[in-house]
Every structure is written in C-alpha cells, then in structure tokens.
Symmetry: C2
Subunit: 300 residues, 2 copies
C-alpha cells in the first residue's frame, strides 16, 4: 500500500482547551498527520489525548515553546479565559512569541476582545484568526463543523489547511472579529428560535393538541427550521441531556447584548431574550440542561 | 382520448372570500371538476372568477341556496367577518341551513370562535371543519399548501377530497379548533423567527459585516430555517412587496395572545413580540409591507 501524504503531515500544532468540542478537534488534527501538543487546565482530557498519541505538556509556556512560530489552536469558554491563557502571566505569551506565530481561536470570544488580541499579535509580527464553529459536539466529532472565519488574508490562508480538517462549510467573513460577529448572529437566531418553538409547542399542549403532532404538521412549512427539527424533537421527547448547555447559550446571549450595545442596536426582543435565558439558567438553576430545556420555562 | 373523471366531478361547492389565497383556491376546485359558485364582498375578484367559468352570485343567501346541503368553503380575514358572513343577518345561514351542510374554513380564525361555530352547525345537523393553510399565495397558486385540519371524523372525511385538491401536506389534528391551534403555533414561530433573523442581519451590518454574506454562512447550520432562506433573502435584497402582509402577521400575533390568555400560557416573549409587531404596523405604518420588512424596525 503506498503511503498517502496526510494534509497536515509533520506540522507542529498546539491545542489549548480540550472540552467537549476541543478534544475531538485536537484528535482530528493528529489523525490528519500533525504533531499535536495539547494543554488543558484539568488533567483528565489531557491524559486521554496523551493515550491517543498526542503530545502533552503541563504548562502554557511549554506549549508555546514546543510549537515555536507554528500554529496554536485555542478552544476556551470565555473571553477573559482567552486573555488569561494567551496573554496572562502564566499564559502562552507571557514572553513575546516568536515572530510568525499564529493563533486560531475556535471558541466564541467577544468581538472587541478579538480585535484587541489580533492587534496585539500583529504588533508582535504574529497573527490571530477567529474561527468560531457551529454544529455542536456532534459536528466536532464528525469533523463537519460550520466555521466562520475572520482575520487578515495571509493569516487566514495559513490557517485554512487546519480549519479545513475540522469543518465542512467554511466562510471567510472579513477582518478580525467578523467570524465572531457571524457566530453571534447565528447564536441570536438559535436562542430566539428555541424560545419560539418552546412557546408554540407549549401553547398547543395547553390548548389540548398533541405537541408531537403539531411539530410533525409544521415540518416543511414556513415554521420549518433545524431547531424545530432537532430541538423540537428533544422537547417532544423531553430529552434535555446536553448537547448545547443552557449556561453556554446564556453566555452567548450576554455577548450578543454586549455587541448590540457597542454598535448601537436597540432591540427590546434581545433584552427580553436575555431576560428569559437568565431566568431559566440563574433563577431556575437549569444551566446544565440542553438549551431545548427552555420549554420548562413555559411549564412552570 | 378517454375522459378522465376529475376528483370533484359535478360536486356543488360554494366559495366565499376571493382574496389572494381564496381566488386561486376556488379556481383549483373548478379545475378539479366541481361546480363552483363564488361570492366576494367586492366585485373585481368575483368578475374575474366568472370569466374563468365559475358561477357567481350577488348575495350570501343566494350562495347557500345554490349549494343546498353541499360544501361551502370560506377564506376570510377576521373571526368577526367569519361570524357575520356565516351567521349574520345577511349571511349564509340567516335561515337555518339544510341538514348536512358543511363549512370548510380555510382562513385563520380564532380558536374559541371556531369551537362556537362548530357547535352551532352541529345543532343544525351540519358540520364545520377548520382547515387553515400555510404556504402563502405561492402555495395557493401551486395547490401545494400545508393544511392543518380540525373537526369531527365524519366531517373531515367528507371535506378531505376538497382539501386534497389544494394541499400537499394535510394533517388531521383532532377536534374542532385544533387546526386553528396548530396554525397559530405555526404563526408564532414565523413571527418570532422573522424578528430573530432581522436582528441578526442588522447586528452584523452595524458591526461592519455584510448581511448577505452572514446569511450565506449561516445556511445549513443550527440557525437554518425557511425564514432565513426566504425572508432572509427578502431582507438582504430589501424586497418588501407582499407576500405575507405585516398587517395579517399582526392580526395572527393578536390571536396567538388571545389563545395564550385563554389557556393560561404566560410568555413575556409573546408580549414582546406583540409589542414589536404593533410598533411596526401601527406606530410606523408599515402594515402593507411584507412581514420580512420588520427589519426596518431595527434600522430606525
């Protein structure tokens, strides 16, 4: 059998953040031929990665020195964590990185933060590409994520072979931050459509009509959506195991509101949406449920 | 060429209400072999129908006497108009109808009204089937509407050959009113998804990212919907010619709120949705725009 050259053969890549999404993504890069070095705050996921043949380090400083001026992927859950992991005292670049280092941020990170981080990297003759993903853990496992990319043309060109290993639909939206803007637009629609489907099914139940039958009758019409399909089915089956945790949905809605305030979008609907998710996650303590669990807000 | 028996061959059918939807629907029944007699409040649409070979009458009383104990279809825009047209002094049944008369209501009519009308017809040994449709004028022209049917089994069985001429996806939801409940669930999702897509595209524009590109990037992901597809395209192209008039969307949202109040669904999101559509249609006077025009609310 002839040896097939893998797309990332021999390329040194770092990966920080092995959550539900990051872990399978790092593994895919490894399977694509890269020499992947991983770091994670807690040991468990890093040990699993090590057993799968990935290289493991104990500190972020070690991660950046191993990768040199290569590519480091991050997949973290908050803008503040991103800042700490990349620029903090014990972060990747507590010392100035080697010129030509490139960060690819697969997480959902604030737009203004992203612009700031990209500007700092540019000052260091290095790069930052925002590449937030949609498609959930299922998409990460199957390597068919939708990926919305922002960054300078040359940085994006360099990041693309890595991104292409993980995604199926990849769009370069524009300059730094535009990938994150697009992801937030996505999350706004997701958050509000889940709310709409939850109300519609609950309204039907209260009016004495079987919600499973309503969902079926609506499929394919003007009310059709991926949410009615997937999350609607979860609601009908009352399967609220995540999937997409409500606590992350709330985090994203907060970021959407921040962006809206920054750019001057006045939206009572968005304020209401934030209120609903806060109530569900904080007042009712349902943060660990799948976001389709919002249905419960209309049952209480 | 052998004569093919048409599905409604020789059947006497009445049709009241030749709006954008009703006019093509009446024509389809005629083309399916029925002897269709039409009535419309204004002359124009009735004259057009007459030219196409349908029978035209000047009064509702004439319509019901022509059809006898057959089927009369109605497609009207308000519950109060339905009540007036069917039960009013100059209505179809100012006198008690012949036993065995059947009304098929293709319009979006209130749930409690529908139950009341069905009970009255039953008292008269006659029937009422609620069969509201989704799919818009395009679907009415193409006879591929989604139709949500409520009513007693025997009435629905009798109505079905007529309904099948007009629709592609037809679901019998349950007793009288359950078709209307399902339609309102549909309209709730439509109203709120349009709002979500409008905000998402506007947020992106304000953040400097091209909304057409955002819509493209989101297609097929978790934010995918018929609304993102069809109404999203209208928003991007700024094509707000109706289609679905905003004034009808507002009417439906009001009916959803009425039903929610009747069955005890508390929903701040629904209250907010009503507020947004009222503002758009009444305060800003945009009722004649397509409902995708709600985008303008976020541009003002």
């Amino acid at each position: 059998m002839g040896a097939m050259k893998l797309p990332l053969s021999g390329q040194k890549i770092g990966f920080a953040g092995l959550g539900n999404m990051g872990a399978p993504m790092a593994r895919h890069l490894h399977n694509a031929g890269a020499e992947v070095t991983v770091w994670n705050r807690s040991d468990g996921p890093a040990l699993i990665a090590e057993k799968a043949g990935l290289n493991r380090v104990q500190s972020l400083r070690e991660l950046s020195s191993t990768v040199g001026n290569g590519i480091i992927c991050i997949n973290l859950t908050h803008t503040t964590v991103v800042e700490e992991v990349v620029f903090g005292k014990s972060g990747l670049f507590s010392e100035k990185p080697a010129a030509g280092t490139l960060i690819i941020d697969f997480g959902t990170t604030g737009v203004s933060g992203t612009k700031r981080f990209a500007a700092q990297m540019k000052e260091w003759d290095s790069g930052w590409v925002d590449a937030p993903v949609s498609g959930g853990q299922v998409g990460a496992e199957a390597a068919n994520l939708t990926i919305m990319v922002g960054g300078a043309q040359a940085d994006v060109a360099r990041a693309m072979p890595v991104i292409e290993v993980l995604g199926e639909k990849i769009t370069h939206m524009g300059e730094s931050g535009s990938g994150q803007v697009t992801k937030l637009a996505n999350q706004l629609i997701v958050a509000q459509t889940i709310d709409a489907v939850a109300q519609a099914l609950r309204l039907a139940e209260l009016a004495g009509v079987d919600s499973a039958k309503v969902r079926e009758a609506l499929r394919g019409g003007f009310a059709e959506s991926r949410i009615l399909d997937l999350h609607g089915e979860r609601m009908v089956m009352r399967n609220f195991e995540p999937g997409g945790r409500s606590t992350y949905q709330l985090k994203d809605v907060r970021m959407i509101c921040e962006l809206a305030a920054e750019v001057g979008l006045e939206s009572p609907t968005l304020q209401n949406s934030l209120h609903q998710w806060v109530k569900f996650v904080e007042a009712e303590g349902h943060g660990e449920l799948d976001h389709s669990g919002l249905l419960r807000l209309y049952e209480s």
